[in-house]
Symmetry: C2
Amino acid sequence: MELWFTEKQTKALGLSCLVKRTIHAETTPYQELAIIETEQYGRMLVLDGMVMLTEADEFVYHEMIAHVPLSVHQNPRHVLVIGGGDGGTVREILKHESVERVVLAEIDERVVETSREYLPSVSSGFNDPRLVMAIGDGIEHARQHPGEYDVIIVDSTEPIGPAAGLFGTEFFRLAAAALREGGLISAQTESPFINGDLIRRTHQGLSSVFPFRRLYLASIPTYPSGLWSFTLVCNHEPPYLSPRPLPGVECKYYSGDVHRAAFALPPFVAALVAGD
Amino acid sequence: MELWFTEKQTKALGLSCLVKRTIHAETTPYQELAIIETEQYGRMLVLDGMVMLTEADEFVYHEMIAHVPLSVHQNPRHVLVIGGGDGGTVREILKHESVERVVLAEIDERVVETSREYLPSVSSGFNDPRLVMAIGDGIEHARQHPGEYDVIIVDSTEPIGPAAGLFGTEFFRLAAAALREGGLISAQTESPFINGDLIRRTHQGLSSVFPFRRLYLASIPTYPSGLWSFTLVCNHEPPYLSPRPLPGVECKYYSGDVHRAAFALPPFVAALVAGD
């Protein structure tokens, strides 16, 4: 018998993976959580039926959401991750020697614990002494820590369920206030092929808070359409096309050239944030 | 009742689209051919169960396989397309004013006729007087026309079935011989996430024929993994990072910046063609 997991990425689109076995499944206070072992992409973390990561392609997402802002900031020391309970983003941030402290504000502790147990290659930074676990509401954390962070990374799930607030203007204002001078924020902002309206609306919302906003792209096979967007925002125009070299930071997807290339938007994508 | 079409992209991976209706289905002398109307991506051309194109995302593939070589060549006048019977590549080539003649060497006439009938936005160049239909074996065509083409575009299906020969060294030799001085070839070379071995083998085969070879990338949602590779080859090093401006060539994916960015390979992709 073959078992297949299918994420209905939209009402009319599905991605299916052959499953070797279900490793873990539970209902947390916030969402349905499962870890399954797939034939194609290794272990997969599924929240509310949506693929959050797989062992085979998570490096793209985590490297691109972390190293782009961290290489543009001249000396990132204090970093906040909102969401990101699996630990992949934390793992990448900790590759930076300048970073003294990473705060992980994940609302669902069970994501953290499950990743620690079943996704060791993703959660490998959890024992680093520079990591501070701040289980709870990331929006509230930002509110209570004004002027504290050099870089904030919004590593959220889809804009429904527990992460809905992370795409709104009110959140952007709190996040902006939590930045130190010269600080930067990166956020995942969905697929230009599937969620063009969301990208447009999110950038319109951001424009009332941040004078500088740039979309950048990466290829993530297990996310809808395979093309994913991130947004870099800042209170001033950072040298976003001139990333610092990152000696000692080993990557499979990110490089200085890939960084610059990620900001080269195809015209149909540029149109989503035109006049922005 | 919902009807879904699923392409098993590998033995362990499927992409599924909700189907509004089947528009056309037949068995040609070469393959099974179908046109279906999908809810997500519009009309879809399916050959032997594999997605060849959809109306919603075909522009990426066709713009990138055509405009990259045509913008690097200084004055492309004679162009050969091997495969590509749907006409999308021809449509893009014909946007170039310098092009005097496009020869379409498609082995399966039914692909051409079906696209003409059911995919008018793709086959829109079929009535252009600069187009020469050469229904038949593209390898044989190349053999019989040495020194004739400025650009050859290998717009093939997967390396199984009728297109198997188009990934081999013997074909590359014939294609090289069909080029005029300064000529270039582009070919689709599958997904770095799924078909890394094929990319590696193909580039090794190419290295015995062409001194210059470069992989480039584009995001195509309906192809396996969503990240697709193309290969540009030439007898000399062309100015591949300095494409000519293309005034009057309107695109949705291609631009000069996207062209340059497409050659910025993530380290895991660069490793596939390292030492190449």
